[in-house]
């Protein structure tokens, strides 16, 4: 499975992609595959503020419900509205169409503390 190296990861299977102070996040394809058919994604409201390490939402599959954590502190500026009706986008394309939220990072430097693609790949090997 290919893990994009244009972003960082948490060992709890979330990805974070920085673009001009805005961090887009979602869960990895590995996590989506493990969860099997995703039936619901609970995302926070725009304007909600989170600190690194806190749970921002939940992802639900036929099999289990798992929390989603952020590795980056910041304010939610956008959520993927498509997931409300098409949660299966996360299974189909976790790294692109299945993105979950965009955060305005309060400290983009936090990204450096997260796992590289290589280090994340080693976690899931």
């Amino acid at each position: 499975m290919s893990i994009p190296n244009d972003r960082r990861y948490l060992a709890t299977h979330e990805w974070f992609k920085l673009d001009g102070g805005i961090v887009t996040m979602g869960i990895t394809q590995f996590a989506a595959d493990q969860l099997t058919d995703i039936t619901f994604v609970a995302v926070p409201k725009v304007g909600a503020k989170f600190s690194a390490g806190s749970a921002i939402g939940e992802v639900e599959s036929v099999k289990a419900t798992s929390e989603i954590y952020t590795g980056i502190s910041g304010e939610v500026i956008e959520v993927n509205a498509q997931l409300a009706n098409q949660p299966e986008l996360v299974n189909e394309d976790a790294f692109t169409k299945g993105w979950m939220i965009k955060l305005k990072a309060s400290n983009p430097g936090e990204l450096d503390r997260l796992l590289s693609a290589e280090a994340y790949a080693a976690e899931t090997a």
């Binding site: 099997t36 058919d37 039936t39 619901f40 609970a42 599959s61 036929v62 099999k63 289990a64 419900t65």
Partner: protein, 366 residues
């Protein structure tokens, strides 16, 4: 942690078909091959094969076996017919459910199929109570394989593969066939809410007949496909079939679990006195079906509220692949639930979702 996981005779086939294997009661079992929803819908529309070789298969013999099993089981087994299977519970003296089993009567022996998770417990329970009765037990779990073939096309397909008269085999009846010197016991039963059979055979038979059933990874059978434990769970929830550790527990009795149909309170069995007393006093809790608003899933142990009052908890829940609705079974306080004025809710993701009580089962085959 325990040592190596046990493997069923189908292990290599599961891996070859791309299954994700998980630890289930100490066994390495396939949870999903291609997708839980896909496997679920295929079972409802065509035919699936489930490896259930992890389930305990205990053979009991002896002149006193009928009386012995009748005392152990909630179901009346006195005069049980050869060729019939009986779903039953095995309970403690206080009525707490130790396991749910299927007891089948053969000419010269009895077969008790129990849950993998309870096999050690049931083996010990049988040994303890069989002492002095002359009844002997042989645990055949590791020497045999067990497969469930389920779905609306299961009987047609099985007729082409099994040299036995399956057309006249009624539900909860079984027949035995010899084929190339190997014995196949074919039961008309299952755990999906669909028609179908369950087959017990020697482990050595699996290599020979499995390709006939599912084909190979490169050349799969046109209709019959493998389905994993994930689909088995969503299928049985739709059919409102209880699962041990969810709807059935040592913490409550068979009547409370809503399974009074398999309990004969008119006979003497272990737990009978406690259950008669409970029935006399009136049951305080009951198993109900719930339908949630929205697509979120109420998991086991999610709290059920009736207004501000905690009324019980969910035992199983899923987003029904067949019906597209969020369904749950819950064990609730009968008095709280009887109040018509209070709003019924279930706790999900830190909030509450509105639910309504719906009849069980959620799904019945056409």
């Amino acid at each position: 942690m325990a040592g190596e996981l046990l493997r069923t005779p189908l292990y290599d086939a599961h891996v070859a078909f791309g299954a994700r294997m998980v630890d289930f009661a100490g066994w390495s079992m396939p949870v999903v091959y291609t997708g839980i929803i896909e496997e679920h819908l295929h079972t409802r529309s065509a035919c699936s094969v489930f490896d259930v070789s992890h389930m305990g298969r205990l053979v009991l013999r002896g002149a006193g076996a009928e009386a012995f099993l009748d005392r152990l089981c909630t179901r009346n087994l006195k005069g049980a017919e050869v060729g019939r299977s009986y779903y039953s519970h095995v309970c403690r003296e206080d009525g707490g459910i130790l396991d749910d089993v299927i007891v089948s009567r053969f000419e010269d022996h009895w077969l008790v199929v129990c849950n993998a998770s309870n096999r050690a417990k049931i083996v010990a329970w049988i040994h303890r109570h069989a002492a002095g009765t002359g009844v002997t037990m042989d645990d055949r779990t590791m020497h045999t394989a067990m497969l469930a073939v389920q779905g609306p096309q299961a009987m047609d397909l099985a007729r082409q593969l099994v040299p036995a008269d399956l057309a006249t085999l009624k539900r909860y009846r079984f027949t035995s066939v010899e084929y190339l010197g190997m014995r196949f016991d074919v039961f008309r039963s299952g755990y999906t809410g669909e028609d179908g059979i369950e087959v017990v055979c020697p482990t050595t038979a699996v290599k020979m007949f499995l390709p006939l059933l599912v084909g190979s990874k490169d050349k799969p059978h046109a209709v019959i496909r493998f389905a994993g434990l994930g689909a088995r769970d969503t299928l049985r929830i739709e059919a409102a079939m209880p699962l041990y550790g969810h709807e059935l527990s040592e913490d409550w009795d068979s009547l409370t679990a809503g399974q009074a149909w398999c309990v004969d309170l008119g006979k003497d069995f272990i737990g009978a006195e406690a259950m008669r007393a409970k029935k006399e006093k009136g049951l305080t809790r009951q198993m109900i079906g719930l339908e949630l608003e929205g697509k979120r899933i109420a998991r086991q142990h999610a709290k059920v509220y009736c207004g501000a009052v905690a009324a019980g908890e969910v035992t199983s829940g899923t987003l029904s692949p067949t019906l597209g609705r969020s369904l749950a079974m819950a064990l609730v306080d009968s008095a709280a639930i009887a109040r018509q004025d209070a709003k019924l809710e279930v706790e999900i993701g830190g909030g509450r979702a509105a639910v309504k009580v719906v009849p069980l089962p959620f799904y019945k085959k056409k």
